[in-house]
Subunit: 179 residues, 6 copies
């Protein structure tokens, strides 16, 4: 049984074919009908086992008008993007707390260094989409707002209140939005 | 001139002595009289050039009563801590959005995997302090609240409002606290 | 002077801006009016210095009808591609001498493991193009036919004749095509 | 059964909790009633499986008055120490055969580069102790005297005699001390 | 059963002996009675499991008079050679398409950087042989002519014809030589 | 001036030739007329700058009758050897203090894992020699006896006395042999 043989924690198939190195899952736009107005479709080792040990993956990100890929980090990968549709404001913040931001459009490339908080905000009238390349088979993602306000079990409200310099009730109000 | 010769972006001295591998800067508690009620004193390549190319560094973190090291990430290092004083609630959130949290006291060890959001909150009556080891000469730090609400130039308020599901005026109120 | 300060052999700028992480050079199709009928436009550290130390790069490859990106290797990178236009036959050969090949079209993803000989052949009636992600700031490329038959100084003809089991005059005829 | 699933040679648990990232084993001083007058308590992947794949570990080392952590190497890690009690003479020897040595006391930090022979000698009147951070989940240790004079099977005496420029009977006398 | 326990895809033995780190398979010259007039005998993880995780391997290469190790690449290793017999013309081609070539004889050392096409051609009257060191437990090899003209299934002839600027019948003639 | 441009701390030449990848210094046996009765001739980045960034090096080791390469470590490399002349007893000690030893002769291969103490002792009647491959451009070497008893400044005698369980006068007698 294939599942019984693993390399690096993922299946190591004895009989591989070209289809193992092929992935059709980025063909169509993801469903952006959600609070962020965006959708990340990943071609990483979880959806596309053929990249196991190859240290690359891809993703397609779609944005409704007004949608955003909210501030987030990838603990294990630098990300390089190519805009395939629309107009986006993109940016990342350095460890010296400088924001580097740029408005990008079809054909533009931008890079987000490993582990730094970054975001993309649709600034056009129509939908937008990008293709992202990662130098990891599994980049990992922490969407900051969700990580802090919607973890299970929850991050203690007083920890967040002190961190954001708001009061507990404000923290709880934000938490309620993510339930 | 030492500054003229660099390796890996940091000074590479021609004449080294034992003092280059020694650092006395963690001897005393840092000043915790600040909004977070904590202070990080780093022994990394910026303060302690002798760790250049050695892929390790240390830090001492002090906490006033009620103080916290707010939720933050280190893009380039896993952190392992040893509690030297007091009682702390520590935790990190995974990429699957699970919080792993524990109350630790003198002599306890806890580990925060590379790149994940984590925090320490003083839960004792008196001051607390820890020694942290990192597997990088320069771990880098992004304190989440500061990164998002106090970057220069500022992260656009509408981006943050949508991300945290609050309105722009609430974002601006938080930003004002960090000025 | 920026050129005087280097990190990793490439410029390390003292004053960076968002433009350093931005590259517009992949916006337009490259000129495919050449013997291969294809054009590789690179967004790597040579054209896009901002990826220095970030271990990623991108390229846009355009194919005229009938064009090909001939069999080649990247010594320093795995490549993952996303098809943006047309129909391509793509493939790589393993160290066990197996060919893995697939016909891919718009939105498909395929991966070429580090260092292995691979190619893309336009099999559609119109032009084709792809976006490639690499896990290196400078993937390096060896186009096999050019490497062997058009190096300077030339690879000795008898070495090539024996390798391809042809005679010296046939080698020289191929060499003449690449002058 | 958890033990049946391994990643990197160590258990990979399906259900992890905060306790997996917590270790209480460094709380108390180790027993220094032994010939070296010291004790190393390790928080590495063998005692603390939660550091598996995280590339860090810690240790607590205690020294009786007059005790030492004898000259030894860690094949897989650089070590950075923080003195928590007492006065120690610490040192390492470079590949150019230079000794870098320093007397350190509470709160001091010193670093021992990966793979180099190093030692700590208690030079105070009372006990001493340190916390060590390593950039490996399993640093490995070779205590030189034990490695050479107490291996099983034994290193041939004539090899050691020639190496240390003593005679075989002197080698055998040292070996006898380690039985 | 040893085969049931694997680390890194290769057997991880519970009871190891000195013989696991020993390999006698390079003692004798390989059989060079083949079209290339050469033979590569490998001491890598497939023949010599003891190098698993150690990131080194060796090979012995023997050349009949007139024999060659044809142009090939190692996707995973730099190679450094020591000539033990005879006179060889050795060379590699860079990604800038420059050939670096040298005639080497007994006792000479030459290095072929990771992933670049290289070859060795016997230029003496008698047999030749070398010892090669690799910085990988499994260097991998792609002999260019075999990779392109003898893969299974075959690389399409029109792809090769366009790449080498010859016609399909010439491609098929070369393919026939490798059957 | 070439010396003014460095990459990785070593010269990075603007104009390279095949000679940069060639080294003739291992052709002849080194002078073994010394206390160890052996000689290590290195082809590493210090003598052979062309291996800079390539992560390989070689060495030739010659042994007079009765000579030895005394117990030593390489902090930065695994070593794989090929015997070119004579009969040697070779061995290394693990971190579990097990000695793995073997008598090897012409054509045999043996591997010494990174960082572990190892030795080679000529056990034949005539001279012996080996070729060693390393997976580092600069393996580094610590000959244990020299490191401990002949460092400058000296390792304190009481540290060594306690470590080897001998008295200070015996330590000083050994030190005197290395002056």
């Amino acid at each position: 049984m294939a599942a019984a043989i693993k390399l690096n924690g993922f299946p190591c198939k004895a009989a591989i074919t070209a289809d193992d190195f092929f992935f059709a899952g980025l063909k169509n736009a993801g469903n952006t009908n959600n609070p962020a107005g965006s959708n990340v479709t990943a071609a990483n080792v979880q959806s596309f086992p053929g990249v196991n040990t190859l240290a690359v993956s891809m993703a397609r990100i779609d944005y409704a008008p007004g949608g955003q890929n909210p501030p987030h980090t990838h603990p294990r990968a630098t990300e390089i993007i190519f805009v395939t549709q629309g107009i986006l404001e993109v940016g990342f913040i350095t460890t010296a707390n400088k924001l580097f931001t740029k408005t990008v459009t079809v054909g533009d490339v931008f890079v987000f260094p490993r582990g730094l908080v970054h975001f993309q905000q649709n600034r056009g009238r129509g939908p937008a989409s990008i293709i992202a390349g990662f130098n990891s088979q599994l980049q990992g993602t922490q969407v900051i707002a969700t990580t802090l306000f919607a973890a299970a079990p929850p991050v203690p409200s007083d920890v967040l209140a002190k961190a954001f310099r708001i009061d507990n009730s404000q923290v709880d109000a934000i938490k309620a939005k993510f339930m």
